[in-house]
Structures are given as structure tokens and as C-alpha cells.
Symmetry: C2
Subunit: 287 residues, 2 copies
């Protein structure tokens, strides 16, 4: 497995693989990799001839009061995991390599970026779509893999690729969870032992919601209240609890179509997110 740090190096590696007739799979990450990322690399490995993982903590998607400087950086461990999962190349650029001068060009996805995490993290998705555009142009993948854990990010990027005719597809892969149900996240490292026990409340709230929907509850306000009770009883501080159209991410009053239940909740020092998809006809869930 190659580890490269410059745009020219990764372009040369991909061009050689392409010339050898291989399809290119790409897993963009911010590092601090866990089994969720691992599942994306494995999926890419199973479908593509050449697999690139990027590791870049992107400053433009962090707000001024957010955790950019203390975001975990673990390139040694990340390299081990990527090699074990079968990646061919890690692209780990410095900030100056990705942003050699002041960036003036931005990609924005209206509406889909505005609610949920977009409301509490202004500018976040503009940073994500812009850096993904840059990375897609550098790596030129056939398929890029993202996790359903960041549901809004996945919806925003799928729409961007479609609207702007990127010559590639995005595949969104299921959430990977710890044994007790906590969704894997690089930010779980911020949790104390006590916080870690509490953090399962996001998953428990989603499971309760699932049971309620199975029982026939379709009122969004009823479901949100019950979710809120579970989170606050565990000592969590909800940032938002939203039930939205699964595709447009516009708010729903009743669950009368495929829906996304999305939660952001502070537990100790960490802001955690989790979500569940509800598909009607026939009723099924993706937790």
C-alpha cells in the first residue's frame, strides 16, 4: 500500500491503475478511522480494482468554535487499518497542499444543506461539498463510498453529483455500531467512561421510535417528544431531533412517506449524531 501526500503523486498512482484497466474506488475520510470507515474500504475493495482512501481534516468544514484543532489525528493507526482492509493507496495531504492560496470557489447545495446539522453548523456543508469536489477532481474515482451515519452529508453529496454531472457515482453504506448499539464515530474518543455509557441513548431513542412507528404512531410531534425524553433522561442535551422526508430532507408532520429520523445530541464534551431510515410499503427500518 502506498501512502502519498501530494496531489501529483495520487494523480500518478490513479492514472497508472486506470491505464492498467482498473476501476477506481474512493473513500474520503478525516482519519481517526474506525470499523465504520473499515466497512467502506472493504466495500470499495470488493467492487473496484484500485482503492484510494483520503485522510484530510478539512478546515473549511469546521466552524470557528468547533473542534478542528483537537480533532484526533492518528495516521499510524489509520495506515494499519487501511492496509488490513485492502486499500491500495492513502492520500494524506497537508492543508497547504489542498489550499495553497485563499480559497474563493465554493460549491453549495441549497435546501438539503439548510436543516439538521446545517442549521447548527453554518458553513459546514459548504466546506464538505467544496473539499469533496476538490478530492473528486484529484482522485477521479468511478465510485465514492460514504457512510449513512452522516445521512445529511450523504444526501447533499448525492444531489451534488447528480446536479453537477460528476462522472462517477456515490454509494452510501450502512451505519456500523458498537456491541451496545452506539454508532461508530471518530468523536466517540472524546467520551469519558461515564459519557460512553450514556452515549447509547441516541441508539435507544431511535429503537424506541422504531417500536412506536411499528405500533402505528405517525405523529412527528409525538415521536419527537418521546425521543427527547429518552435523550434527556440519560443526561444528553439534544441539539436537534428531526423527522424529515428521506430524499428532500424537508420536515414532515406525519410519517406518510419514506422518512429519516435524525438526532444530534451533546453527551459530555461530544456532539454525537445518529439516524434511522423508515421505508413505508412495506414498513421496514435501517438503523
Amino acid at each position: 500500500m502506498h501512502v502519498v501526500h501530494t496531489i501529483n503523486e495520487v494523480r500518478a498512482a490513479v492514472a497508472a491503475a486506470r491505464k492498467a484497466g482498473k476501476t477506481i474506488g474512493f473513500v474520503p475520510t478525516m482519519g481517526a478511522l474506525h470499523a465504520g470507515h473499515g466497512s467502506l474500504v472493504q466495500k470499495a475493495r470488493s467492487e473496484c480494482g484500485y482503492v484510494v482512501v483520503s485522510i484530510f481534516v478539512n478546515p473549511t468544514q469546521f466552524g470557528p468554535t468547533e473542534d478542528f484543532s483537537k480533532y484526533p489525528r492518528t495516521l499510524g493507526d489509520d495506515t494499519t487499518l487501511c492496509a488490513a482492509m485492502g486499500a491500495d493507496c492513502i492520500f494524506a495531504p497537508a492543508v497547504e497542499e489542498m489550499y495553497p492560496e485563499q480559497n474563493l470557489s465554493w460549491v453549495d447545495v441549497e435546501k438539503l444543506s439548510e436543516g439538521l446539522c446545517g442549521a447548527s453548523r453554518p458553513g459546514h456543508f459548504r466546506g464538505v461539498t467544496t473539499v469533496c469536489t476538490k478530492l473528486f477532481h484529484i482522485v477521479l474515482p468511478d465510485i465514492a463510498y460514504f457512510g449513512q451515519k452522516d445521512a445529511q452529508q450523504a444526501a447533499v453529496l448525492c444531489r451534488m453529483v447528480s446536479d453537477l454531472n460528476f462522472p462517477m457515482q456515490i454509494k452510501v453504506c450502512p451505519i456500523v455500531r458498537e456491541a451496545d448499539g452506539l454508532a461508530m464515530s471518530s468523536r466517540n474518543r472524546y467520551l469519558s467512561q461515564d459519557d460512553r455509557r450514556r452515549a447509547v441513548c441516541l441508539y435507544q431513542a431511535l429503537c424506541l421510535c422504531k417500536q412506536q412507528v411499528e405500533k402505528g404512531v405517525v405523529s412527528v410531534s409525538d415521536l419527537v417528544r418521546q425521543i427527547s425524553e429518552v435523550l434527556t433522561a440519560a443526561g444528553g442535551a439534544p441539539d436537534y431531533i428531526s423527522i424529515v422526508d428521506a430524499k428532500s430532507l424537508q420536515p414532515l408532520h406525519v410519517i406518510d412517506r419514506d422518512a429519516l429520523i435524525a438526532i444530534a445530541c451533546r453527551v459530555g464534551p461530544a456532539r454525537l449524531i445518529d439516524n434511522m431510515l423508515i421505508f413505508l410499503n412495506p414498513l421496514r427500518f435501517q438503523l
Copy 2:
């Protein structure tokens, strides 16, 4: 020469050319082609193995009160010109092919888009950068060719390609003029015989400016006043007369670096633009 109307067709044509080892040259246009466009096609022909011209009057770069619906559409003549200049393929999509659903994804280039035509045409450059991103992703050229006539457009697109790491380059080609100096433009068709005589005032004003700079005048306010007098004496109504840094497009007070003199002026029913580059060290001009 092929004329195709769908994204799949132009992608297939380009992929076949690429497979045959050819480089791809691309000239994006809104049709109503004239000798200025012709010079871009010829330049592409001389440098690339396969030349694509797109003809698409892009609705998202016109304001609500602008001339989208009456913009000239002359596909027959355009095809003849492209064939004569050696193009291999015309891509002429319908609006529904380029925008099959409401477009939510936009590319913006801050600062460079804000002055000059950006100030009088809000949203114009966002439409240009967005449609060019789409076209670049569809055609996947090695080189795209634009005219210096639209100086701000060229600066904005060069910055976009650089900031967002598009895997291609942009070449900006000199303005092509009528015998009397009027810059070639599709909008010259809007001019009556009388307007057409007056329209040369933009070129005359730029020539006067060049003479003044050669004489040592470096005060932007003095130069702007003299340009304004030429335009209004001819019956033109200036929209803006701007002297800006040639690269950043930020306003100058004195010409102490490479500069762009840019004019937008109404003559009869048409809003015409023209410009001149001033290079210091040694002093030379590109009119």
C-alpha cells in the same frame, strides 16, 4: 462532424476519441457564433485531437429582466461555422437535458464575481460557473477555450479550475474585432444600422485610454472620465467603466501594476462589453 443533443451521446463520442489516444479540446458557447468563437475552435483544432463545441443558451446565467428568451438561436449557421473551423462534435442539449430537475447545486467564485458585470448582473457568474462545471464534467476536456472579450468570465473560470482542482486547463484567447474595431459579439445582432455605427465608441474609448497611459497618465479617475466622455459623446450609456487589478479584479486608484480596463455600455437596445489589458514592465497592451 457529429451533432449530438444528449449527455450520453457526447460522453460516448469523447470516450471513443480518448480511447483512440486523442486529447480533448472544448469550446463552450451559447451559439449565435461569430468569428470570435471561430478563432477559439481553430485554436482548439490546432492543439487537440478531438474538438467539441457546446451550444447551449444557459437560463441560469440570465437575470429575470435579461434577454434569455430573445437571445439569438442559429443552430444551422453555427453548425456550418463549426464544420468549417474543423470541430469534430457539436453538443447542443435542450434545457431539460441540462436541468432535468430543479438545480440545487451551485458553484460560486467569491470576490472575482462581485465587481464589474457581477455588480450589474447579480447571479450571472454563479450561473456561468455552475453550467461550466456541468459541461466540464460531461465533456471532460484536457483544455477549454474562452475569449478575452468576457474578461471577468475568463478570470472567474480560471480561478474556479485552480481552486477546485479540475483536471484540465483553461486557455484564454484574444478578442476578435470587426474592421472598425468593434469587438465581435452575438449581441451585436441587436444593433440597428445607426447603433452599429455608434457601437465602435467602446473600442475608441479603449484606444484613447491606451494613448493616455502611453503619455504617462496613471490616474484611474482621470482615465475613467475621459473614457466616459467618449462613450456619452457617441450616444452610449455607460453601465460601468472600471480599471482593476488584472488578476484579482480589485479596483485600482493608479495604474501601478498589470491592469484591466473594462467597459460595459448600452448602445440602443444592446448592452455591450469590451476591455483592454495593460501590462507594465515593459508597457504593452492587449486590445
